[in-house]
């Protein structure tokens, strides 16, 4: 008797459990991962980018989420370090079971790519620009144009539109500098110019007199600088102190108000690229920047990057919404298929993106220049 009662109870309990599991198997929320540097040397950028993504997720949920279901973002720290990034992504995939995650910083993007491919989870690189990213595997895509896009644009613009025939390239001797410096040199040469000096500086250098003097001796008409936020202002300051007055171009990393505060008049004629529309180009961007100033008390660090991070949840939400409408389980494999089926996305702060066959996107490049103490729009290339 006791045995029968025990058996019935067990079967009943199992049925109840099965039913319960069956109910929770229907999606009640959609999750994605965000692996960014929250601590360490790059956290200043990383934290602002996370804030932008958080705002986007809030907005999406306020407007109904994914067909009434909540969009959840799981944020983990990478410290912009490949090893820490691997741990973060492993956790997102094995514990949080995300179908897609967003990450940035080229070293991290490359390090976690095998994990994404092996587990068939989509990795969206948003902000890293190493040209290698286009070849990292079936499940790795970038929504941010790679280095060749903006560097090619500024090199071509310098040679063709500004009419510069002789350029010098000065770059930091690491992944950020080497690849992009090569792209600039090759593009400028192809556009009919001549690279008269090609100098690298050590990552830990604090004085750049030597390379700058070599560049000065070569008498270039324009200098392209490919460095990091930490030392680029100092390079420009020393260049001006050594009497180098030609225009200096660089990538979007130096496009921030702090450069002008630090350099004053020495910042004049510095040209940076931006891969996102500015406040003059889009009222949505203006509202976004105004919100930063109101809520945080300042403009975001690395404005274009935060724009892309604000848009990343919108892209993910669009894919999840489509999957949800079709009743398709949101696995990484299905996410990838649906994302490629949709292919083009209209995003609020960066405009339309379309994934190419090589997993990349092409965007217009905005060139901005310091004129009279302010960043002003110079040109839009590749519209």
């Amino acid at each position: 008797m006791t045995k029968q009662w025990g058996l019935k109870s067990t079967v009943g309990l199992a049925l109840a459990l099965a039913l319960t599991t069956g109910v929770t198997a229907q999606q009640t929320s959609y999750k994605f991962g965000l692996a960014m540097p929250l601590t360490g040397g790059q956290a200043t950028y990383g934290n602002d980018q996370v804030k932008a993504a958080e705002w986007a997720v809030d907005e999406i949920n306020k407007k109904g989420g994914i067909n009434g279901k909540k969009l959840e973002m799981i944020v983990l720290d990478t410290q912009a370090d490949p090893q820490v990034g691997i741990q973060a992504v492993n956790r997102m995939i094995s514990v949080d079971k995300v179908a897609v995650f967003v990450t940035a910083w080229s070293g991290v993007v490359k390090a976690v790519a095998p994990i994404a491919n092996d587990n068939k989870v989509v990795e969206l690189s948003v902000g890293a620009n190493s040209p290698d990213i286009s070849q990292l595997g079936d499940y790795v895509y970038t929504t941010f144009p790679l280095a060749d896009v903006d560097i090619r644009a500024v090199a071509n613009y310098s040679a063709k539109d500004m009419g510069k025939k002789k350029a010098a390239v000065l770059f930091i001797n690491n992944e950020t500098g080497i690849g992009s410096a090569t792209v600039y040199r090759d593009t400028f040469t192809k556009a009919g110019g001549q690279v008269v000096a090609y100098e690298a500086y050590d990552q830990k250098a604090t004085d750049f007199t030597g390379p700058l003097l070599k560049i000065r001796a070569a008498n270039p008409e324009i200098i392209h600088l490919q460095g990091l936020v930490a030392e680029s202002p100092q390079v420009i300051a020393q260049a001006r102190q050594l009497g180098i007055t030609v225009p200096i171009t660089s990538y979007s990393g130096i496009y921030n108000q702090k450069l002008i505060e630090q350099l004053g008049a020495a910042a004049e004629n510095v040209i940076a690229t931006s891969l996102a529309p500015g406040v003059e180009d889009s009222p949505l961007v203006k509202d976004y920047v105004d919100r930063w100033v109101k809520d945080v008390g300042r403009a975001p660090n690395g404005l274009p990057y935060t724009q892309y991070l604000y848009d990343a949840p919108a892209l993910i939400a669009a894919v999840f919404t489509s999957l949800d409408k079709k009743g398709i389980t949101p696995t990484g494999e299905n996410f990838r298929k649906e994302m490629l089926a949709i292919k083009s996305f209209d995003l609020p702060l960066t405009g339309k993106i379309t994934f190419s066959e090589d997993h990349t996107v092409n965007k217009p490049v905005y060139l901005v220049e310091v004129k009279n103490g302010k960043w002003t729009k110079k040109a839009v290339v590749g519209q």
Partner: protein, 312 residues
């Protein structure tokens, strides 16, 4: 590339920018000489010195000289904390040299992380602008930062020399450096002198970081990297030789910057460490000048019997 103007510019700028490295090396060498500690926690003192000055100038809007004094106060305060709560305690417990070394490494990282949490990670300078006006002197660009930096460094070195040579406490410091136990037997309060040495090093590195932070951007982790240069200069200058460390710091700075005349700029970092590698292996006690030969003339007078011939 062997244009005289270029060479002169490189030499001048190297000399000027070696000013803060000299101060870092001298402070490190001083603590090594007197306290017998490889004080990697000096990076933490440097960090505190910089951020104290930064708070004064950028956050409290104090004038530069007030920020300078606050920077020194910050560095000295951290030196006190490290000596009082760290090294003194480890000495009492008779901790091994290895243990003390590990403590200095951990202390410097702990301070760096604490500062990172308070001030964030954005690179910053003491003054809002890092651009210094330039004057051409005989074709050489001399920035408005160069002369004050060199003057400050020379003043600090002169003051340190005078202190060690002429002041009572300076003499005590040399005595403790020579033989701490013997010095104690002679009534010198060893712990007080060791504290004084740490505080003095705190003053010196805080001045160095003020110079550095008015010319280059600093993050919480920057001091750890600057320390490498100081350690290398100390070893090359001879362990226990404060002035050797100072000279080595200048030489290293000039060698690294002027190497651009001969090799691609991308190789500069490699060259510096290759130079250090061979220098340390070949000269483990540091470079030493040949000893001066003592050519003391002695005229020994043969003892004559100054007697009256009778042995008196």
């Amino acid at each position: 590339m062997f244009d005289l103007a270029v060479v002169s510019q490189i030499l001048w700028t190297s000399f000027a920018t070696s000013s803060y490295f000299v101060l870092f090396a001298v402070a490190f060498a001083l603590v090594l000489k007197v306290n017998k500690v490889f004080n990697f926690a000096q990076a933490g003192v440097m960090t505190c010195g910089f951020y104290a000055a930064y708070v004064g100038v950028r956050m409290l809007n104090l004038p530069g000289y007030a920020g300078f004094m606050l920077g020194i106060a910050g560095g000295v305060a951290m030196s006190f904390v490290l000596e009082y709560f760290g090294f003194a305690v480890l000495r009492q417990r008779k901790a091994s040299a290895m243990f003390v070394f590990i403590f200095t490494l951990i202390a410097s990282q702990f301070i760096a992380y604490a500062v990172m949490m308070i001030f964030g990670t954005w690179p910053t300078t003491i003054f809002a602008s890092m651009f210094w006006p330039v004057t051409l002197v005989g074709g050489i660009a001399v920035s408005a930062w160069d002369m004050p930096a060199i003057t400050a460094t020379v003043t600090v070195l002169a003051a340190l020399w005078a202190f060690l040579k002429y002041s009572r406490n300076g003499q005590f410091m040399l005595a403790v450096a020579d033989n701490a136990d013997l010095a104690e037997l002679y009534g010198i309060q060893k712990d007080r002198i060791l504290m004084m040495s740490m505080l003095l090093a705190g003053v010196i590195v805080s001045i160095g970081m003020f110079l550095y932070g008015t010319r280059a951007q600093v993050q919480a982790s920057a001091a750890t990297e600057l320390m490498l240069f100081a350690v290398a200069a100390t070893i090359l200058g001879g362990i226990g030789n404060i002035w050797g460390a100072a000279i080595a710091a200048v030489v290293l700075g000039v060698v690294q910057n002027s190497s651009i005349l001969f090799i691609p700029s991308a190789w500069q970092g490699f060259l510096l460490f290759a130079f250090l590698f061979f220098a340390i292996v070949l000269f483990p006690s540091g470079f030493r000048l040949p000893e001066r030969r003592n050519t003391l003339k002695r005229t020994v007078v043969a003892p004559q019997a100054l007697t009256d011939g009778k042995g008196h």
